[in-house]
Symmetry: C2
DNA sequence: AAAAATAGTTGAACTTGTTCAACTATTTGT
DNA sequence: ACAAATAGTTGAACAAGTTCAACTATTTTT
């Protein structure tokens, strides 16, 4: 069933009854996003939340010097949104673009806010999801300080072997935080040196 | 009253009734932490959450090369904990140290978990606090890529003028992500150059 | 008040990663 | 299948930030 993956994802974080799962899921609607399409553009206000079923997305921002920084790549079982823009109704500073033909489950902001009201356990779900995400961002910041570019690159390959197969080196470089020219040079060196 | 600041902090994030505020606060106990004392050490499991009333704390990690990376400084109105360790019962990778004689409100993990049960609006409070924190970490990672060391240093001074007065340059450098020698050189240059 | 420890400064040599430019290889659109 | 666009490679010059060491200034401890 179309909601199976979403239900599994929820149950990884918190206990939901069968009926709670159904109530939750029925507000999510499938959507096909063709390759290259932009789901959210820098400047727009994010009024949805998405859950990836198939394909791959890149969430990135473009700084004032024109550099692209990739926040993360989202494949099957990942969530898509700009928390900042969604929460604070501010223009988004990120772009969400499909790197492949993709399929997501989408919920409108108004439906999500209604869910928080009608199904209190949803607060717990997103409390836990947010705390886990927060921890991941903390760790990434620490890695960015402690690890060299080369170590960060190999960490990425090791941590997301499946995702990295779908990406160009340029996209990986924008996640690792280096130029693609330098990544090209790194690749020539053996991993341990 | 001792809980005034905590109550204000809560109301910034979510609407609590007077009785909800009281029920929430009564599980927090004041604690004095003298200067230099370590509230949580790397390796320990974090079984509390703290809210700063007075003084100043540094949350930092020491990497395998012996470098100190400061996650953040916590003064009045900031929260203290290692979310990762608290949530996942894993040995903490951070140290929390008082930089001055300080006073906090502290809640035990078991009391906090009980609060989630007895007062459902607490889930909402921490859902929102976590989402805001998550956004702050996202933004910091982006700044670390886009800004030079000098820009990050001046951003810190501008954003936390009150906190920076309490800190040594060495501590600031460990937040900005540079050596204190380099910070010393940066300070000689005019801010805009 | 003296001694010890910690913080801050400075310079020289060095390392890591960037920039720019020219080129080759691969993918995409028609 | 061809043209156009995009991705990847390579090298040389450069810039940002580190390391190490020697020194001075300030703070803490006794």
């Amino acid at each position: 069933m179309i909601y199976d993956l979403l239900k599994q994802n929820i149950l990884k974080n918190v206990q939901f009854s069968k009926s709670e799962l159904d109530t939750f899921c029925k507000h999510f609607h499938p959507k096909i996003i063709p390759k290259k399409e932009i789901l959210l553009s820098q400047g727009e206000i994010c009024k949805f939340e998405g859950f990836v079923l198939e394909g791959c997305f890149r969430l990135f921002t473009i700084d004032n010097k024109g550099n692209e920084i990739t926040l993360y790549f989202a494949v099957k079982d990942w969530w898509l949104m700009d928390v900042d823009s969604f929460l604070n109704k501010t223009p988004s500073s990120i772009n969400i673009q499909a790197l492949e033909d993709s399929k997501i489950l989408m919920i409108d902001k108004s439906d999500k806010l209604a869910l928080y009201q009608s199904l209190p356990v949803v607060e717990k779900l997103f409390r836990i999801m947010s705390q886990k995400a927060l921890v991941a961002w903390q760790r990434r910041l620490i890695r960015n300080h402690c690890y060299t570019a080369k170590e960060r690159y190999h960490y990425f390959l090791k941590t997301y072997p499946d995702i990295s197969l779908k990406l160009t080196d340029k996209q990986i470089a924008s996640y690792v935080g280096i130029t693609h020219e330098f990544l090209s040079k790194l690749k020539k060196q053996p991993a341990d040196q």
